[in-house]
Structures are given as structure tokens and as C-alpha cells.
Chain length 147, copies 2
């Protein structure tokens, strides 16, 4: 069971932006994590559309969080970035071919499990994940601890 | 977020076997669901290895559940059939390349969410999913309702 890379990268961008104060470029983030800049551009674009991040133009511009890390829940990010919660085939009415889906209770059990998964994530904000931002900045190669 | 097709098909095999009394062949199950026999063979083999189903040899032989449907929990099936719960890259130490994974609390939040997901599934048995076996047999084309 996995979240998509799209969701994974969106969380990494938000964590990066939450750990620093100054605007940064996609290239900075891509280099730091060692992942594709092109992929991150798409993810950042979507995060901008959804209002998680803002873009400042100009020489000192770049990306920044649009909200306080305490105001961004992990559940919200995962809900909107994950393309689907079609745990098994019968969740998608358009493509489902399972002949027993109308009478089988698997879908309702998995839906309940999904909601429990997301409810836990609703209890965490970006600030909770960044409990030690100085250490995170160090891991990102942005500063030494306590700087 | 999805379970693998392997887990999906394992649940379908168990539901099929739970809905009927007589042993059946993989070909019966494959035809009924309209899915690949070759794929089902691998899934059934694994279900046999794990003790969920047994194979009876001979002219009237075939596959059957090895336990009462009330004794098989959905959580157990998903735990053992799903190849991994590596929700995001940092869950797999062997392949993880995220530079902040040692100091980021994402993994612990997602682990907690995973456990909540599985705990819900632990509350459902195969018998719960088969609450109306006559209707399921009808959907499988095995009999008319109330027969």
C-alpha cells in the first residue's frame, strides 16, 4: 500500500518550505533532495493551485508556504494531492468489473479503514512534522544545527 | 492509495470459496470473475502456503477454505498478502534517499495511520463480508437466490 510519488514529493516540498524562512527555487529543492526538477515543477504547480504555496517574483523571489505550518494538516495534503483512494478495483464504478461488488461488503470495510487512516493524518500539522526545524535545515544542507 | 491486484484477487478467491460449500477449481473462479487464470493460480498458491485455503485432490477435488469464514479477518489477509506498507519512499531503508528522513516525523505519522487502517480491517471477518451468501452466489452465477 503506497501513496503516489506525487503526494510524497508534495510533502517534501512543504517540509522544505516549512523549515526555512526565505523564498527558494524549485531547483534548490530538487538539488537538495536529489530528485527530478521537472517532476517537482509539476508538483509545486499543483501545490500553488491548491493554495498551499505562493510564488514571489523578482530577484529575491521564489516559493514559500502560503500558510503557517500549524495551519496545514497532513490529512488535507494527502486528501487533495493523492489522485484516488480506490483501494481495490470495485471502488471505481467506471472501471469495476467485479461481479459481486453490489452484494459484497468489502468496499464499505475498506472505506471505513481509509477514513481511519485519514483521521490520524488530520491530527498532524506540518509544524508537528517539523518539530526540530534546525535539524531538518542541517539535513537539507542549509545550515548547521543551532545556526 | 491502493492495495495491489494480488491482494484484491486474494480477497475475491476467499469470498468465492466462502460463499459456496463444494470444492472448486481455479478455472471456475477465473471464469466467474472474468480475470486471468494464470494470475489467480499464483494468488491461490500463496493463499495455500499461508494456510487460508486447502486443496483436495481427485475427481471431486478442488480448492476450499481451510477455516471457517468467521475465523479469517480481513486485517490478517491484507497484512500477509500485501507485499509492503511502504507508504512513501522513506519507509524502505534499503532504497530511501530522502535526506531528512532521520529528523522528519512523517514516517511515524504515516505508520500510525497505517495501523489505524489495519485495525479497522481486523474488526471484519470473511463472514462479515459474506453477510448475504445467497445473493453473492447469485452474482457469481452459481445459483438463484434462495436456492
Amino acid at each position: 500500500m503506497q501513496l503516489t510519488r506525487h503526494t510524497d514529493y508534495s510533502l517534501r516540498i512543504l517540509l522544505y518550505l516549512g523549515a526555512i524562512d526565505a523564498p527558494v527555487t524549485i531547483a534548490d529543492i530538487a538539488t537538495c533532495y536529489g530528485i527530478s526538477r521537472n517532476h517537482l515543477v509539476k508538483v509545486a504547480h499543483r501545490l500553488g493551485q491548491l493554495g498551499f504555496i505562493s510564488t514571489m517574483r523578482g530577484r529575491t523571489g521564489g516559493l514559500a508556504l502560503a500558510h503557517d505550518p500549524k495551519a496545514i494538516t497532513l490529512g488535507h495534503v494527502v486528501r487533495v494531492m493523492e489522485p484516488g483512494f480506490d483501494i481495490v478495483e470495485c471502488f471505481d464504478n467506471a472501471t469495476n468489473q467485479c461481479v459481486i461488488s453490489d452484494v459484497c461488503r468489502l468496499r464499505s470495510a475498506l472505506t471505513e479503514a481509509n477514513l481511519a487512516f485519514l483521521k490520524v493524518l488530520d491530527g498532524y500539522t506540518l509544524a508537528d512534522l517539523l518539530a526540530d526545524p534546525a535539524q531538518i535545515r542541517k539535513s537539507l544542507g542549509l545550515s548547521k544545527v543551532n545556526s
